[in-house]
Amino acid sequence: MAILVDNETRLLVQGITGREGAFHTQRMKESGTNVVAGVTPGKGGQEYEGVPVFNTVEQATNETGANASVIFVPPPFAADAIFESLDAGMSTVCCITEGIPVHDMMRVTDYLRIKEATLIGPNCPGVLSPEKANVSIMPRDIFAPGNVGVVSRSGTLTYQIVNELTQRGIGQSTAVGIGGDPIIGTDFIEILSKFEADPETECAVMIGEIGGNAEQLAAEYVRSEMQTPVVAYIAGFTAPEGKTMGHAGAIVSGGESTAEAKSEALRAAGIRAATNPSEVAELVAEALGESS
């Protein structure tokens, strides 16, 4: 098993004829992903890399049975693309696009509450279940199939850590990049709960960073709800404080959003917290050893 995407995934690529869309469609296909359709308004009827292109997601879904989509359209049109996928009944929507206005995303996530879909991102690397489906821009060569679930706010840091895992002979069930934007579709907790429910996932890795309090909330969730061991890593111990105007931000987060504060919260919740990417792989090996 895996979470979110697997052998049943019938993928649709929104923005398939754009530069990034085209490049990654090819790579996702090479990873064995079942890419059934592409959408670019006005280019319906064409074919791209053997994938039929449609004008609208609805049309593409009706004709190909697509059940997941990945979005590469430019920021001004990306929220609309997400709405389109949600309304067409996709179960997983993965938005790679970086730079979507925060207010657009608040509207999208509000709407998401009445949908049963999972939105990953935006501004994320996507989701990859090794040797099952690659709905991402992640470099597939660093992955290996296995039992560790990875969830991360950061793209390249995920690659770094997955790479360390694979080099140690530890494979992954699914890796999910949830994205680093202020407003994202799916938070740590939702992904962790999916890993918890996945019989194949024997250990979860959570990769966080400074800012917000998502890691603290996740720590509380892990403590109270999870049986699966969790290894965490937080980046940004030496990063300079972000400059934000006004006081509202500090009042809202209601606590420290530093890497120290986050690591402390993780440890207090009994989570193994690594201090650098290489240590993550060590702690995972340790956790897997204990649990087996």
């Binding site: 990034e20 990654h24 790579r27 920021p75 001004p76 970086e98 979507i100 206005p101 925060v102 207010h103 995303m105 608040m106 509207r107 996530t109 509000d110 821009i137 470099p139 660093i142 991360s152 706010r153 950061s154 793209g155 390249t156 840091l157 995920t158 690659y159 770094q160 790479n163 680093g180 202020p182 407003i183 960073e209 400074i210 917000g212 309090n213 998502a214 909330l217 890593y233 980046a235 940004g236 111990f237 030496t238 990063a239 300079p240 400059k243 934000t244 105007m245 006004g246 006081h247 509202a248 931000g249 500090a250 009042i251 809202v252 209601g254 890497a259 201090t275 650098n276 990417p277 290489s278």
Partner: protein
């Protein structure tokens, strides 16, 4: 993008918020003339994109044009938390009866706008939040539904307001939410929002931050960007779509993705080094951007070695390698550069580098090793 007080107020006035009359001045002479025009008591307020200007002496209340000129002379050129004061706002006076705190921001956890209101305005509101949290009313707005009349009433009643003040604060909140939404703001903060003795509700200070990602649809706000106030290197990086931050050490850091860059800083610190700066080339960086990034990072005189840490996703290893070679050729950089390349097209990138390795470039297999090597080289003095 942060806006100056006077810019924020200008925008908020369009949404019906009431402010005092004011004039921007760049010289003491301009401040004197502004004070003459406004008449009576005026405040001379430093315009800086940071808080705490009051404590730093950046605000003076004066009662004559001569005093205004003198105060402006003292405030202009002042350094407030690393920001040089280049303009002051000369603003008329008012007889204040009560002071409130009002802001709307984006609550990441709730994924909704959050209104904060407090009758304890005009003071250090973060302290109020810690010591007296019940003095701050919090109210989420459903972004699709918008601010509802009952929510405005909740704020007004919670504040114990009545009559004209209740109406005025309610109207201000309604207009402020419109502004927050229309302007794609990530923060609008009024501290203090005051009720004057004659019952008017005035926006006495305004902090407005507009979401950078939305600037494509707010050309008029994008045009307010203060190029002069920005660090020249940061500015240059921004113009080509890179993020650059200056720090204090001697290892220049180049990486892709905020997470990996932050982790690189941490690992450099763990290896006993100190980052001099960092530049995030982001996703999909091409040869041209890599070249500019290297140029910016090494332009910092403190940099003794460069750590080049790329794990390719959208960013492709071959382009990174080519960008690096181009940059070295163009700039004639001789500083030691430690390269660590992994991910998409990394193999091809490594091949390109291996075929053309300049003398000052060394490659390492792992991030930890690369960090240690860069710290070592910096310690030896690269320049």
């Amino acid at each position: 993008m942060d806006l100056y007080e006077y810019q924020g107020k200008e925008l908020l006035r369009h949404y019906g918020l009431e402010t005092l009359p004011g004039v921007v001045a760049g010289t003491p002479e301009e401040a004197r003339r502004a004070a003459e025009t406004l008449g009576g008591t005026v405040a001379i307020k430093a315009q800086v994109l940071t808080g705490g200007r009051g404590k730093a002496g950046g605000i003076k209340v004066v009662s004559s044009p001569g005093e205004a000129e003198e105060a402006a002379g003292r405030i202009l050129g002042m350094d407030i938390r690393g920001h040089t004061v280049r303009r002051v706002y000369v603003e008329g006076g008012a007889e204040i009866d009560r002071e409130f705190y009002l802001s709307i921001t984006v609550d990441r956890s709730a994924k909704q706008p959050l209104i904060l209101f407090s009758t304890e305005g005009g003071v250090d509101i973060e302290e109020v939040a810690e010591t007296k949290p019940e003095a701050i009313v919090r109210l989420h707005v459903d972004p699709l539904v918008g601010l509802l009349p009952y929510q405005v009433r909740e704020i007004v009643f919670a504040a114990g307001l009545e009559g004209a003040a209740a109406k005025g604060v309610g109207r201000t909140l309604t207009h402020l939410y419109e502004a927050f939404k229309d302007l794609d703001a990530s923060l609008v903060e009024i501290n203090p929002l005051v009720v004057t003795k004659d019952g008017r509700v005035l926006t006495l200070d305004a902090k407005v931050t507009v979401d950078n990602s939305s600037l494509y649809r707010h050309q008029e706000i994008a045009a307010l960007h203060d190029v002069e106030a920005a660090d020249p290197q940061e500015q240059r990086a921004l113009e080509v779509g890179l993020q650059y931050v200056k720090l204090d050490g001697n290892v220049g850091i180049l990486g892709n993705g905020a997470g990996l860059v932050m982790s690189t800083l941490d690992v450099v610190a763990q290896a006993g080094g100190e980052p001099a700066n960092f530049c995030d080339v982001g996703g999909g960086a091409d040869a041209e951007q890599i070249s500019t990034a290297l140029d910016i990072v090494t332009s910092n005189e403190q940099v003794q070695s460069v750590l080049f840490n790329i794990f390719g996703g959208i960013t492709r290893g071959d382009e990174v390698a080519r960008g690096l070679l181009t940059a070295i050729e163009r700039t004639g950089i001789t500083l030691p550069i430690v390269v660590r390349l992994d991910g998409t097209n990394a193999e091809e990138g490594r091949r390109i580098l291996a075929e053309n390795t300049p003398e000052n470039v060394v490659t390492e297999e792992t991030m930890l090793d690369a960090a240690r090597r860069a710290v070592e080289l910096a310690r030896d003095g690269g320049r």
